[in-house]
């Protein structure tokens, strides 16, 4: 007699665990499958966890969860070869309740979160790969695992299997991703004394800073570099569309080295000790790439559903909210004992009405726009740096002359027109 659950969740990342937590809390008999040795063993994130969406699931989680630092400052560097124009917001309101976001190390955090789901009554089974969905009469009725006698049945299966959602692809919910729908991120964890971190980033104890780096961090390819403060480590990384690496024939780890040794970055990390190297894909196709997310007896959540806002580096929050909305839908479906696609499709509607659908729609053309027109990263960021240098260098030239020089640097009348048009277009895809 094969085992049967109310629900099987595949993948114990933020999306899957959020879903399992909410289901277990509502008394649903849920199995949470994880292929890693422990939850988090396969997961990578730059490291920013948003408070609000996590608190929607576990109020005041920050009092006990393994967090690194609450972020009080977010910097954005428009970087050239040996200069940078930086924009920053620092606000101490982010350093106290209710907080805005925190840096986390996923191996620790994901384990803690999964344990909370287990406390609610979910059954967590690690070291188990769901190799395919069991489909009978057009409905998903369970999963086949790589364990002996590994068929497990359920009323509904939630696919939280991440960016490489082989299961959703098998079901025909999406074709294979294109190289311009995923970003390849590499990162390192660098050990550094906490006092040095606080000195270098201008922080008090238990305050953190994030830096997003545009322009020369990716040598002009669409993507970003990042440098985040943890308790006694730094997370430094760089992510670019896979299509960009292919086009420029660039090795991702050499790009990471380039960022680490960049004269604008090196002073932050000098003397630190690399303790881990990680690579992962980020789904960055956005709104147009969201696959079918509900079928007969099945839902898709988190990265598996391409729920990432690349412009605002939000993903884990969308994962958690999608997991929670999937759970709400399943609880409703269970009450009516109806796990058909038309019932479960309520999840898609909830998703699209939430900030997830709204935000992804807002930026639906942004990534593709910046990929198609490389001049933003290749030309306009260096231009911005030259303008700042010109304006702030005191060399006897009058400010009026300086403005003239900056104006001339923008190029011919035709080039200026193109620049103006590009700015309009950028506004259009971002507004």
């Amino acid at each position: 007699m094969p085992e049967k659950f109310d629900c099987i969740v595949v993948g114990a990342g933020p999306a899957g665990t959020a879903c399992a937590y909410e289901l277990a809390k509502a008394g649903v008999n849920v199995l949470l499958l994880e292929r890693g040795e422990y939850p988090g063993a396969k997961n990578v994130m730059g490291g920013v966890l948003y408070r609000k969406m996590m608190e929607d699931i576990i109020p005041e989680f920050y009092k006990e969860a393994p967090l690194e630092r609450p972020i009080v400052e977010q910097r954005f560097m428009m970087m050239d070869k040996e200069s940078a124009v930086t924009f920053s917001y620092k606000g101490l309101e982010w350093g106290r309740e209710p907080y805005n976001n925190f840096t986390v190390l996923r191996a620790k955090f994901d384990q803690w979160f999964a344990e909370k789901a287990v406390e609610q009554g979910a059954l967590l089974v690690c070291e188990t790969v769901a190799v395919e969905c069991i489909v009978e009469n057009g409905r998903v009725v369970g999963v086949r695992t790589d364990r002996p006698d590994g068929d497990i049945y359920a009323d509904v299966v939630v696919l939280a299997d991440g960016v490489n959602s082989l299961l959703a692809k098998q079901l025909g919910f999406h074709r294979e991703w294109r190289p311009d729908e995923v970003a390849l991120a590499t990162m390192e964890i660098l050990k550094l004394d906490k006092n040095i971190i606080e000195d270098r980033f201008n922080l008090e104890p238990n305050q953190g800073c994030t830096i997003e780096i545009f322009g020369d961090a990716t040598k002009g390819i669409v993507g970003t570099g990042f440098l985040y403060t943890n308790k006694d480590t730094l997370s430094i990384g760089v992510g670019t569309l896979l299509s960009g690496l292919i086009k420029h024939k660039m090795k991702p780890y050499e790009l990471l080295e380039y960022v680490k040794n960049h004269p604008m970055i090196r002073p932050y990390i000098q003397g630190s000790e690399p303790v881990e190297y990680l690579a992962h894909l980020i789904p960055e196709g956005g709104y147009h790439s969201i696959p079918k997310v509900a079928g007969h007896g099945v839902l898709v959540v988190g990265d598996a559903a391409q729920l990432v806002n690349a412009i605002h580096r939000e993903g884990s929050n969308m994962a958690m909210t999608s997991g929670r909305l999937a759970a709400e839908t399943i609880i409703m479906a269970k009450a009516q004992n109806d796990f058909s696609e038309s019932m479960l499709d309520q999840y898609r509607m909830k998703l699209m009405e939430s900030f997830i659908g709204q935000d992804l729609k807002k930026y639906k053309d942004a990534t593709h726009h910046f990929e198609r027109f490389p001049q933003y990263f290749e030309q306009y960021i260096p231009m911005m740096n030259r303008a700042a240098s010109q304006m702030f260098t005191v060399d006897g030239a009058s400010k009026w002359e300086k403005q003239q020089k900056i104006w001339r640097d923008l190029g011919s009348a035709k080039q200026k027109f193109k620049l103006a048009r590009d700015m309009m277009k950028a506004w259009k895809v971002m507004k």
Partner: protein, 95 residues
């Protein structure tokens, strides 16, 4: 001078629990040999799993980060990509 500059040094920082058989397979070795002058997987793979050895592609699956780039980025869809068996493969300890 920063430490762990080369990919080999970076890979030493990672814990792997390698299975005895590969989860990555080049479907048709002839395609790599005759149709793919760039051998782009040897460039974008973040763990340098793919190495061209004169006439064949060496696949060092033991050091794979399981990111999926090769499956998506191979211009000939010539890589069969599966998850390693449960519990095997890369084990991230921190990030």
């Amino acid at each position: 001078m920063m430490k762990a500059q080369t990919i080999e040094e970076k890979q030493y920082l990672v814990r792997f629990n390698a299975d005895t058989k590969s989860h990555l397979h080049v479907l048709d070795p002839n395609i790599c040999l005759t149709k793919c002058p760039d051998k782009i997987c040897t460039i974008f793979c973040p763990a340098s799993v793919y190495k061209w050895e004169e006439v064949r592609m060496h696949v060092g699956y033991e050091g794979c980060h399981e990111c999926g780039s090769c499956r998506i980025g191979c211009p000939y869809e010539n890589i069969q990509w599966e998850y390693p068996r449960g519990g095997y493969g890369i084990v991230f300890r921190l990030g």
